[in-house]
């Protein structure tokens, strides 16, 4: 990751020390029959730049909703969210998309690579959307990222020709396309075997060394054990927030 394109200026945080800051964020969903389901019930959370945080919790505890709010994929019902120096509640749909593309790298459980584009093209597409990386440099950057995740020789292949582990690594490379300061991942190893999961975990660990702020929803103990901090959600509330002193890096 020593290429000049990866050295994009880091945004200035809204609060001097926070890369992500939630203040009393709630999220409720209207159910059929007029009832509301509260997925998050007033969460406040501060994440420092370069911090690796894992989110644990049972199904329905609000993990994915939390991730979606931070990524600007969904909006809070009440409360404030700042990420990468921006108040997300003030962004319209277009600005949010541009902000997300620049500042957030998203890794999905099922990889979600676009099947009609080659692996390399999948990585270049977010660069096209955001336009932060100059057009002439996009292919070079995509190849550097592929080299970073060990897929340099798979660049011209379609996603369907790759194994699950390779697809997830390609998805991580795609998440880094615009050199975002924050990487969010929702069960990134949930669909992988243990050996491949370990390799992916190692890859995430490498991102910390590059100063990325990492927030991962996972059940993978190996992955969770490497985090600086582990928070536990239950019924839309943070029930535990502890530092992980055994984490490396």
């Amino acid at each position: 990751m020593a290429g000049k394109h990866l050295m994009l200026p880091q945004p200035v945080a809204a609060h001097e020390t926070d890369m992500i800051r939630l203040e009393g964020a709630t999220k409720s969903f209207a159910m059929r029959g007029g009832q509301n389901f509260e997925a998050l019930r007033g969460i406040s959370l501060h994440v420092a730049p370069g911090e690796f945080l894992t989110v644990l919790g049972k199904s329905g505890s609000g993990k994915s909703t939390l991730l979606n709010l931070i990524a600007g994929i969904d909006r809070p019902t009440t409360g404030a969210i700042h990420a990468a120096g921006t108040d997300l509640t003030r962004l319209g749909e277009n600005k949010m998309a541009l902000w997300r593309g620049s500042n957030i790298g998203v890794v999905f459980q099922f990889f979600q690579l676009l099947p009609t584009l080659t692996v390399e093209e999948n990585i270049m597409l977010p660069m096209d959307f955001v336009g932060k990386v100059p057009g002439a440099d996009r292919r070079t950057r995509a190849r550097e990222l592929l080299a970073l995740v060990g897929l340099r020789d798979q660049a011209a292949k379609l996603p369907s020709a790759l194994s699950g582990g390779q697809q997830q690594r390609a998805a991580i490379a795609r998440a880094l396309a615009n050199d975002p300061p924050i990487v969010l991942a929702d069960e990134p190893t949930g669909n992988l075997d243990s050996e491949t999961s370990a390799a992916v975990a190692e890859l995430f660990h490498g991102l910390i060394r590059q100063g990325k702020t990492l927030l991962i929803v996972t059940h993978d103990e190996n992955l969770a054990s490497r985090a600086h901090r582990v928070i536990q959600l239950k019924d839309g509330l943070v029930v535990s927030d502890r530092s992980n002193h055994t984490a490396g890096g």
Binding site: I73, D74, L114, T116, D128, F129, G135, R174, N191
Partner: protein
């Protein structure tokens, strides 16, 4: 209620919009097939029967006057089924409106006891009594007169007689008055005498017991003629008739068009049904997996989905049949008027109804079977772990290599997505292109024909042609015409009916061989037809003639330089073809007046006047000309303006092109609706993919642009195929019109209106895609990512 049925009911409720959309497509497709097949079946049967009911003659024998004993003699001849004496001639008639129309007047002795060429009552008094005229019902609109009202009829000596309309009749053996711009009138001999027409019946219409080939009929007429001669009642002429409707060629072309339409409607409908249901089933894969995990067997799942779609298909068929039948009846009604036929039986053959039912039910069920089987065979793991982004099924490796827009991944992505489902793409393209090609073909064809007509009319030289009831000296005719204001030039032509005969041929004339000989003044400025071959005769060349291409078509082997024998009454003359002219209309031989005189020996007796006018007021000058001739006691029987000739031809083409345009527009519309529906379902199918793109930073307008490029690519591809297909189809139809209808070259003209309509459809499709995607973009990224 069993849980399974609850799920079906729930699916119906949850996806009612898409289900209604599929239903509409099924109804439209099936109704189109039913309409086209029903109309074709009814028309094919009724056109034939209607003409048969007219009991049209096989032979016409011409006399100075038919005596009762001649009629009895012919009736007694073995092989003769029926005989009837009649007379016919041309005059002019006007109804409430100021406009005068040419009228073919048929004189019948007894309306209540007709034997051949039967006309029957439509409205008013029947049978006609003396003192009133019966009018063929298709002329009602032109005359704007009702039963009991007076019409004005020209007398041969230049007077006008007023006569009441006794009633309207239907003559299924004539073309509609609106097309030929000719009124058909029917009177008794006593009424004919009232307005100075010859009341003597001079024709014998003969119907044979068994009609063989055309040669058999000609041979019979020849024998009959010889036999009558031996009885001292020799006919002046015997014509063996083709016994086909005057618009037989148009009718067969129209039936051919309906056949093609039925085929296209079938293909479109089947393709669309397959496409829509396959799209629908694609979305059910995950649920199939879940149900299989819960223990559902493939057969149970198949029945469950069958139960979901069956009511929709049954309802669609139940709606499509009455709609299709009604449209089919409307098409038949339209042609009933356009072709002037009697439709006595509106029923559709039962085997056809069963075939239509099998189609309407079978195609959607078959279309459904394939995706259900596919879904049922998928492994539970695959189904449940479906990431929501549908993997491509086609040759994506191939398309990923060839489709690459340098520097633009968004366009590359969009264009590759177009080929993501090759079969679905093929079906969509098929449906859209067929509709588009048909729409364009109808317009190319119509405009090619009208351009040829306009160019042919522009090269005619004259604007108005007048035919007189009785011939007059050329100088007198020209002098009268030149005195009419706005007449620039007037020339008297002569005309005579002649036959082309081979040296060894019998005296009987086959209908196709009776040809008009037109005599033109040497140095004429009003005969300016273009020649496709040869030259115009030189002055003083007595044996040289020019024929139009229609004569050449009707007489195989007749080529430039060929010597032919022309028979006028008992006179035979040998002439040489020195030129072949391009002309729309009937077969005509052109000879300069000295050559005309050489053939006919009729002397200075002109019955045709051609006039060129200064301005463009053809109708007004024609009326003034009519009046001037009447005042000089020169009664016109026919007055044709260039504009009327154009309208008449346009009406003829409308038989085929009218229905083509309507159905083409309908099928193009269905195609466009289908593409929108397909794209809408496709967009829903890829909702999660849209979510991913948005999560990667794509702004809504970037997502819309991707889908617009996809929809645009499909629409553009369809447009290209439509244009290519329409050029081939229109060329074929033009060739058919060239050979069977116009007898002049019909170059292909690409219709701008057609292209404009096609591209309007293109924008409609783009709009539909935009609306579909915009609707989905109302979902938040989270909702899109979780979309099922």
């Amino acid at each position: 209620m069993k849980t399974q049925w609850r799920k079906i009911a729930g699916d119906f409720r949850a996806h009612r919009l898409q289900i209604v959309l599929i239903g509409i497509i099924l109804v439209l497709g099936s109704a189109g097939v039913v309409a086209a097949l029903n109309a074709r079946a009814i028309l094919a049967r009724e056109i034939e029967k209607s003409y048969q009911r007219a009991n049209a003659p096989d032979i016409i024998l011409w006399f100075d006057k038919v005596e009762p004993q001649t009629l009895d003699l012919v009736r007694s001849r073995p092989g003769v089924a029926e005989v009837e004496a009649r007379a016919s001639g041309f005059t002019r008639v006007a109804g409430k409106a100021v406009e005068w129309f040419s009228m073919r007047l048929t004189v019948l002795r007894d309306f209540g006891n007709q034997k051949v060429n039967l006309v029957h009552q439509d409205a008013g008094k029947w049978p006609a009594s003396d003192g009133g005229i019966l009018i063929e019902q298709s002329g009602k609109a032109l005359l704007q007169a009702a039963v009991g009202e007076l019409v004005r009829v020209r007398t041969p000596v230049g007077g006008v007689a007023s006569i009441p309309i006794a009633g309207f009749v239907h003559d299924p053996a004539v073309a509609p008055s609106t097309q030929d711009r000719v009124i058909y009138g029917y009177v008794t001999p006593a009424t004919a005498a009232l307005f100075g027409q010859n009341a003597d019946l001079d024709q014998l219409l003969v119907r044979l017991q068994t009609r063989g080939s055309m040669s058999d009929v000609a041979e019979f007429a020849d024998e009959l003629s010889g036999w009558l001669k031996s009885k001292n009642v020799a006919p002046l002429r015997a014509d063996a008739l083709n016994n086909t409707h005057p618009h037989a060629a148009l009718m067969s072309a129209m039936l051919r068009v309906l056949e093609v339409l039925a085929a296209i409607a079938f293909v479109c409908s089947a393709a669309l049904a397959a496409c829509m249901i396959s799209l629908w089933m694609k979305r059910e894969v995950r649920q199939v997996g879940i149900m299989k995990t819960l223990g559902a067997r493939s057969s149970q799942l198949a029945w469950q989905y069958l139960a979901l779609v069956a009511p929709l298909i049954l309802l669609a068929v139940a709606l499509a049949f009455p709609i299709g039948t009604a449209i089919g009846r409307w098409v038949v009604q339209y042609h009933q008027t356009m072709l002037n036929i009697d439709v006595a039986d509106w029923s559709v053959p039962r085997p056809l109804v069963f075939a239509e039912l099998a189609f309407a039910l079978g195609i959607p069920f078959l279309a459904m079977a394939a995706p259900i089987v596919r879904a049922a065979r998928i492994s539970v793991r695959q189904a449940i772990q479906d990431p929501g982004i549908v993997p491509p099924s086609g040759p994506i490796v191939f398309t990923s290599r060839i489709i690459r827009i340098p520097g633009n991944r968004r366009w590359t992505f969009a264009l590759r997505n177009t080929f993501r489902r090759p079969w679905r793409l093929a079906l969509t393209l098929l449906a859209l292109s067929a509709g588009g090609a048909l729409l364009l073909t109808a317009h190319h064809n119509y405009e090619s024909l009208m351009r040829v007509i306009d160019s042919a009319l522009a090269s005619r030289g004259h604007d108005i042609e007048v035919q007189l009831q009785r011939p007059a000296p050329a100088a007198q005719l020209e002098a009268v015409a030149r005195a009419v204001p706005e007449v620039e030039m007037a020339e008297a032509f002569r005309r005579a009916g002649v036959n082309l005969v081979a040296d060894n041929e019998s005296a009987t004339v086959r209908e196709g061989r009776r040809i008009l000989l037109s005599g033109y003044p040497e140095g004429t400025r009003l005969l300016t037809l273009p020649l496709s071959e040869g030259r115009w005769p030189a002055p003083g060349e007595l044996d040289a003639v020019v024929i139009n291409r229609h004569v050449q078509t009707a007489t195989p082997g007749l080529s430039l330089g060929r010597e032919i024998t022309v028979k006028f009454r008992e006179r035979r003359s040998k002439v040489r073809v020195v030129g072949i002219a391009e002309e729309i209309g009937s077969p005509v031989i052109y000879a300069a007046l000295p050559a005309f005189e050489n053939i006919t020996a009729l002397g200075d007796a002109s019955a045709v006047l051609r006039v060129k006018i200064k301005g463009d007021r053809q109708q007004l000058v024609a009326a003034a000309l009519d009046q001037a001739l009447l005042e000089s006691r020169l009664t016109p029987s026919l007055i044709n303006t260039k504009a009327e000739f154009r309208t008449s031809l346009e009406e003829h083409f409308a038989v085929v092109t009218g229905v083509m345009k309507m159905i083409a527009l309908a099928s193009a519309l269905v195609g466009a609706i289908s593409l929108i529906a397909t794209v809408s379902l496709g967009v829903l199918e890829r909702a999660r993919e849209i979510g991913v793109i948005r999560a990667l930073g794509a702004r809504p307008r970037a997502v819309v642009a991707i889908f617009l490029v996809e929809g645009g690519a499909v629409a553009l591809l369809s447009a290209v195929i439509s244009i290519a297909g329409s050029l081939i189809l229109a060329r074929l139809l033009n060739c058919m019109a060239e050979r069977q209808l116009l007898h002049v070259a019909v170059p292909l003209y690409v219709s701008r209106i057609g292209l404009a309509l096609l591209f309007s459809g293109f924008f409609l499709v783009i709009l539909g895609v935009w609306l579909s995607v915009s609707r989905l973009l109302r979902l938040s990224v989270r909702e899109a990512l979780a979309y099922e």
